[in-house]
């Protein structure tokens, strides 16, 4: 058996896989944040709560209606996305004319309410979600649980599909045009407010989808998104929100860096992303893929 810098390969590749999985969630969540920010000019602090709602939706669907994981993968994002649309119609749309900070505060308040209500109803401790594809492969240098491999692949597909949808389709072109100049796009007869509502719904659905994918790996709990969203903010600062591809690359990259830190210097694994953020702020304040605006 060979060793790399005194680290057994099982540990190294195991942590790299974990990092890749974390990175997959960072990528999906920061992508949703970037899409929402582009259109609504709101940093969606509720993103972590909506990710949690996705996981809960799948868990409840399984528990009460016996809906299998694969159906939840489609159903849960739709349900949570619709709730998101209602929230946008009721609350968010009233603050677009104000400073960005009010959107941040409003969505922070929404997150507190949602997470508080879930805690009241289901407590703070987690509930397990059965693994839909148990088993795994022995790759020789490491053991790969099938579901974890699936999550990484699924996240890649979701990210690339979002990128394709925004950069290569007609609806995506409308979206980008409306981000650039909403008044002009409206003059062409496109219903921009509806486009904004839809964007929010899609961004929220993306967070919920990540939540469903996370359910079998993590415990389903009311606070599962609370700390995650804070890390994702750092990811967004590092990557900059200008580019879709940038969010994806930054998300996966930072997950890997975190995984490597866990192998070589475990005490810093929680903080390494924030250290990277500090370094990026020093070297390239606009973020790796951002434009200064």
């Amino acid at each position: 058996m060979f060793e790399l810098l005194g680290i057994p390969p099982q540990a190294l590749f195991g942590q790299l896989l974990l990092g890749l999985i974390n990175g997959a969630f960072y990528a999906m969540l920061s992508l949703g944040l970037a899409v929402i920010f582009g259109m609504l000019n709101v940093i969606n602090f509720t993103h972590g709560a909506q990710y949690m709602m996705g996981a809960f939706a799948a868990w409840l669907l399984l528990g009460y209606l016996d809906v299998p994981f694969w159906a939840s993968l489609a159903l849960a994002p739709v349900i949570v996305g619709l709730i998101g649309i209602v929230l946008e119609k009721l609350l968010l749309k009233r603050i677009y004319h104000l400073d960005h900070l009010y959107g941040f505060l409003l969505t922070f308040g929404m997150a507190l309410v949602i997470e508080g209500l879930f805690q009241l109803q289901w407590g703070s401790s987690g509930a397990p979600y059965p693994n839909p594809i148990p088993g795994g492969y022995n790759l020789g240098f490491m053991f790969l649980p099938t579901y974890r491999g699936f999550v990484v692949l699924a996240a890649l597909v979701i990210c690339l599909a979002t990128w394709y949808g925004i950069e290569r389709t007609k609806l995506g072109a409308y979206l980008r045009a409306a981000t650039e100049n909403p008044t002009l796009v409206r003059a062409f007869g496109i219903n921009v407010p509806r486009l904004i509502t839809l964007t929010y719904g899609l961004g929220v659905a993306l967070a919920a989808l990540a939540g469903v994918l996370a359910a079998p790996i993590q415990q389903v709990s009311a606070l599962m998104g609370t700390n995650l969203v804070l890390v994702v903010f750092a990811v967004v600062v590092i990557g900059g929100m200008g580019s879709i591809m940038g969010s994806i690359v930054t998300g996966f990259g930072l997950g890997m860096i975190e995984g490597l830190t866990k192998v070589f210097y475990p005490p810093a694994s929680n903080t390494v992303i924030f250290v990277v953020m500090a370094i990026v702020l020093l070297v390239k304040p606009a973020g790796l893929f951002g434009q200064t605006k």
């Binding site: 609350l91 409003l106 308040g109 508080g116 209500l117 903080t271 702020l281």
Partner: protein
């Protein structure tokens, strides 16, 4: 101007007799949070910078105070100084990095740094991790002149600290420095074109705000005799934003009112557990949608309108 003086005189008399009506420990906690909220508001209301990570200064100062007084066995004055200096130093480092971005990014960066400090505190040996730093002794102040074991005596000490901090903020805001800050808040490009180095003013405001938040945090550790992870957590950063928002951003007395409202509410709702979070979240939503000026701001406007309608007669 005179009505303002009368108002302050009434408030100070109220503060002096308050322990006769309310429990001193509760009042001291509220005063610490009031100073914390004022420090936060100095940054947001007058420099236009929203820090969503102010708990790192508040909480770390508590740890510094506890470590100096308990582990190093020094006097509480040195503990308070250590809290303020430590928070200011932390403010200098994080502020220098955070002011490189503006607006919403600034909020996210400060939030991220606060989270980093939180994770650091979970692991660092001197904070006691999940248990917190407990049993910080209450030692007499001024070399034994002021015994602080008595809650009532300590209340007046805390009141003096609060008034000192409040007066300092009042002085900053009404100084030329404060005027430049407001100019930068309202139009940064113009302030820069007039020759003011905006970044240096912002950084100074950030460090001052951090130092005062540190004073509040160290005082709280002195009163409660412990420092815990809650004080450095993101939820505390959110709470201070809420206090300033409820009271009224950009009004000097607003955060004090907001802090008392929120602390009183937490006190009465303590038995309801997670309901406090839900209610705090709901207050955020309602204030942002309907009462952006906060209690003091809305009151001031109502007062002005009332005066302007009665004047012509």
């Amino acid at each position: 101007m005179t009505s303002q003086r009368v108002g302050y005189a009434i408030l100070i008399i109220l503060a002096l007799v308050a322990p006769a009506i309310a429990y001193p420990v509760f009042l001291m906690k509220a005063l610490c949070f009031a100073l914390f909220a004022c420090a936060f508001n100095l940054l947001l209301g007058y420099a236009g910078l929203m820090s969503f990570g102010h708990a790192m200064f508040f909480g770390m100062a508590g740890y510094f105070y506890g470590h100096v007084v308990k582990a190093w066995d020094m006097s509480p004055e040195i503990g308070l100084l250590a809290g303020v200096a430590g928070a200011a130093a932390l403010g200098l480092v994080t502020g220098a990095l955070a002011i490189r971005r503006q607006g919403i990014y600034f909020a996210m960066i400060t939030l991220a740094f606060a989270q980093m400090v939180y994770f650091f505190c979970v692991q660092a040996p001197f904070t006691g991790g999940e248990d917190g730093l407990q049993g910080i002794p209450r030692k007499a102040l001024l070399g034994g002149l002021i015994p602080t074991k008595n809650d009532l005596v300590l209340y007046y000490v805390v009141l003096a600290i609060f008034l000192f901090g409040y007066a300092a903020i009042y002085r900053f805001i009404h100084s030329p420095f404060g005027q430049v800050l407001k100019a930068i808040r309202d139009n940064e490009q113009r302030a820069v074109s007039l020759g003011y180095e905006a970044d240096r003013y912002k950084l100074l405001a950030f460090v001052l705000s951090a130092a005062l938040a540190g004073l509040a945090g160290a005082t709280k550790a002195m009163v409660q005799q412990f420092a815990t992870l809650t004080d450095v957590a993101a939820s505390t950063s959110g709470e201070v934003v809420l206090m300033a928002l409820v009271g009224g951003l950009g009004t000097i007395i607003g955060p004090v009112v907001g802090a008392f409202i929120i602390i009183t509410m937490q006190n009465y709702l303590a038995g309801f557990g997670q309901f406090v979070l839900v209610i705090q979240g709901a207050i955020f939503v309602v204030i942002v949608l309907a009462f952006r000026k906060g209690v003091v701001g809305e009151f001031a406007e109502w007062w002005r309108r009332r005066r302007s309608t009665t004047k012509p007669t």
